[in-house]
């Protein structure tokens, strides 16, 4: 479908152009922490806010764009919700950048209540920021509903969730891609609801002066933020399930009872794991802290037992032809699991007691995002470009894969070591207390430059070819 090719190409161009800019913001932050640069605190925290929101935003929409494109293999996909999502995303990003760089909004991605009301920010910037999130939220919600409706028109809900597979029936088969996409889209619905309530409460205070409860606001913030990022990963996994076996020359994956069980379990567990963000809030009911640790530890079981085993089993003695797309998927799974290990160690309450808000946290989330989820989306993008242009980017394979993976691994290693040395996150300069932070920031920045080089080469390759898709589809 030409219209779907076109909107997918538009997403890819937008995302791959913003990605190096967001990386550059991150490098500037690390160089400032290393005392190589001297940014003002407001500039640093503005960069931090923009970096976090841009990275989560672009890779969320890219993983969803990948799923939207691949969904046409099974159901009729309507393009207007995707286009609607694209337009509102652009509106949201413009408002966001205006709030951050025009109005000095610098509260971090999570704008933890009540910080926006205390930060030294232009008053209009807080409103612009909230409207920006509203625009992004509405756009993404309508887009997700569009995909969910498209699935449910063909697959009744119980079939889309593969419940008949749970009881041992093998027909009619629910493809794993439909199962994972459905659980992910359903998982997003309460996250969007939480975001609406959160924004509503912010507006009540902003416009009506009604004070809110800080613990409730924190729960809503992390429920929404954690779930969104988790579901973004699962969209990437859906694309992997769909594309990876074919890249290895193997038949498609099938939905077996344990696959159905795993993804239905994920649907429930993902809603409760976010409690680990509030471990250090001792006033949170203690039973929820137990739920948080249990859910955080149960969540990776389906992922490891099903996805990793399937991917390793697919590659083992397969004679696979390695090029960028399968390499991205394969190494993405590896780093996803490694990052997951870092995360579940942090999800033990007793460990979180000494790791919370240290650089151990960006260490693990950069591992399963930069080196996991982003690679899943890059795998899709590389495959899409080959489908559209016939060019598999073989000239880029060695330089891009080597620079990206080596740079990424070194970059996150600096975070892990710093986290274990109690170096805190989200500070513009390290106090004397953690003197090692500066040296490790420089090491991290240098490795991140390698990632930036890989991304720059890759972006030129992708944008040129996707631009042709956009123009050809338009004419």
């Amino acid at each position: 479908m030409k219209a779907l090719d076109r909107i997918t190409a538009a997403w890819i161009i937008t995302v791959t152009l913003v990605f190096p800019i967001a990386i550059l913001l991150g490098i500037l932050m690390r160089l400032n922490q290393a005392n190589v640069l001297e940014l003002s605190p407001l500039t640093f925290y503005s960069f931090m806010t923009a970096h976090g929101l841009l990275m989560v935003g672009i890779w969320f929409v890219m993983s969803m764009a990948g799923v939207s494109y691949l969904l046409q293999r099974y159901v009729e996909v309507r393009v207007w919700p995707i286009t609607f999502g694209y337009v509102l995303t652009l509106v949201g990003v413009v408002l966001l950048l205006a709030a951050i760089f025009g109005g000095g909004f610098h509260t971090g991605w999570y704008f933890l209540y009540p910080l926006p009301f205390y930060a030294r920010t232009e008053e209009w910037a807080t409103m612009a920021f909230l409207l920006s999130l509203g625009s992004l939220g509405v756009g993404w919600f309508v887009w997700s509903l569009g995909l969910l409706v498209a699935i449910l028109r063909k697959y009744p809900l119980t079939r889309a969730l593969a419940w008949h597979h749970l009881v041992g029936k093998s027909e009619p088969e629910t493809p794993p891609f439909i199962l994972i996409s459905t659980t992910t889209l359903l998982g997003l619905v309460p996250a969007f609801v939480a975001a609406v309530i959160l924004l509503g409460l912010f507006f009540m205070e902003y416009l009506g002066g009604v004070k809110q409860d800080a613990l409730l606001m924190k729960n809503l913030t992390f429920y929404f933020g954690h779930t969104l990022v988790n579901e973004m990963l699962y969209f990437g996994i859906a694309a992997l399930y769909e594309l990876f076996p074919a890249l290895a020359g193997k038949p498609p994956y099938r939905t077996k009872p344990f696959v159905a069980l795993a993804w239905n379990l994920v649907l429930v567990v993902v809603w409760t794991a976010y409690f680990h963000h509030l471990y250090m809030d001792f006033v949170q009911p203690t039973v929820l802290q137990y739920v948080g640790q249990l859910a955080s530890w149960i969540a990776p079981i389906p992922a490891i037992a099903v996805t990793t085993f399937s991917v390793l089993g697919t590659v083992y003695r397969s004679g696979m032809k390695w090029w960028l797309a399968p390499t991205f998927f394969f190494t993405g799974v590896m780093f996803w699991i490694i990052g997951g290990l870092g995360a579940i160690l942090d999800a033990i309450v007793a460990n979180n007691f000494v790791l919370h808000n240290t650089l151990w946290v960006p260490a693990h989330f950069h591992t399963y995002n930069l080196l996991g989820n982003v690679l899943f989306s890059l795998g899709f993008i590389t495959w899409f470009v080959r489908e559209q242009s016939g060019d598999d980017g073989s000239r880029l394979y060695r330089p891009v894969a080597t620079l990206y993976l080596l740079g990424g691994a070194g970059f996150v290693a600096a975070f892990y070591i710093a986290g274990s040395l109690s170096v805190m996150r989200r500070v513009d300069k390290y106090p004397e207390l953690v003197a090692s932070g500066g040296v490790l920031a420089l090491v991290g920045a240098l490795f991140a430059v390698l990632v930036l080089a890989a991304v720059a080469i890759y972006t030129v390759h992708v944008v040129r070819r996707c631009w042709r898709v956009l123009v050809a589809a338009s004419s």
Binding site: H106, L112, D281, F282, Q289, I301, F309, Y316
Partner: protein, 182 residues
């Protein structure tokens, strides 16, 4: 678990994972028709056992119940506000009491249980205790409208730093307080 042990466990785990992926990747250059499906059940059981054992070992070590059966030797009231902590043995409820408590250097007893009652007058802050050798030994959040109680027993004499660990605004990095344990 000390941070160095966590880093060691993580590094070993990451090496094992990377090693398995590297071995499988190498095997892809020697194609042969083989099914690894029978292994799946055993790997699932192994993961379940690992997760179960680790959860059983760690779930009971919650910081919420530290020294719950003991009476604290001292109670320290902590109020956080952009960008300083006020620590006092008396409750701090007003701006004047906050201002009066700022800059006091407390002396806390070695080997005795101390209870910190931590709150905030404005935004969320973090109250992390750094030992004299610069490692986090305990922490709790400071949330407006709530009092978080953290009990701790200091086993090492020296100067400790309380550092804000929740991003709270432009001067967050400098938000510290110091006290002495002897």
């Amino acid at each position: 678990m000390p941070q160095s042990t966590i880093l060691l466990l993580f590094s070993l785990g990451a090496l094992v994972i990377a090693g398995v992926f590297w071995w499988v990747w190498r095997s892809s250059y020697q194609p042969v028709s083989v099914s690894v499906e029978p292994l799946r059940r055993w790997i699932f059981v192994a993961i379940l056992l690992f997760v179960g054992a680790f959860t059983a070992l760690t779930l009971w070590r919650m910081p919420y119940f530290l020294y719950a059966e003991e009476l604290p030797e001292r109670v320290i009231h902590v109020v956080s506000r952009q960008f300083a902590f006020a620590l006092s043995e008396r409750p701090i409820e007003t701006d004047a009491e906050y201002a009066a408590a700022l800059g006091q250097t407390l002396e806390l007893p070695l080997g005795k249980v101390v209870e910190f009652r931590v709150t905030s007058f404005d935004v969320n802050h973090g109250f992390a205790l750094y030992s004299p050798d610069g490692r986090i030994i305990a922490q709790v959040q400071a949330m407006p409208g709530y009092i978080n109680r953290l009990r701790w027993r200091f086993d090492q004499p020296g100067e400790y730093v309380a550092q804000c660990l929740e991003y709270c605004g432009a001067a967050h990095a400098n938000m510290q307080a110091r006290f002495v344990v002897r």
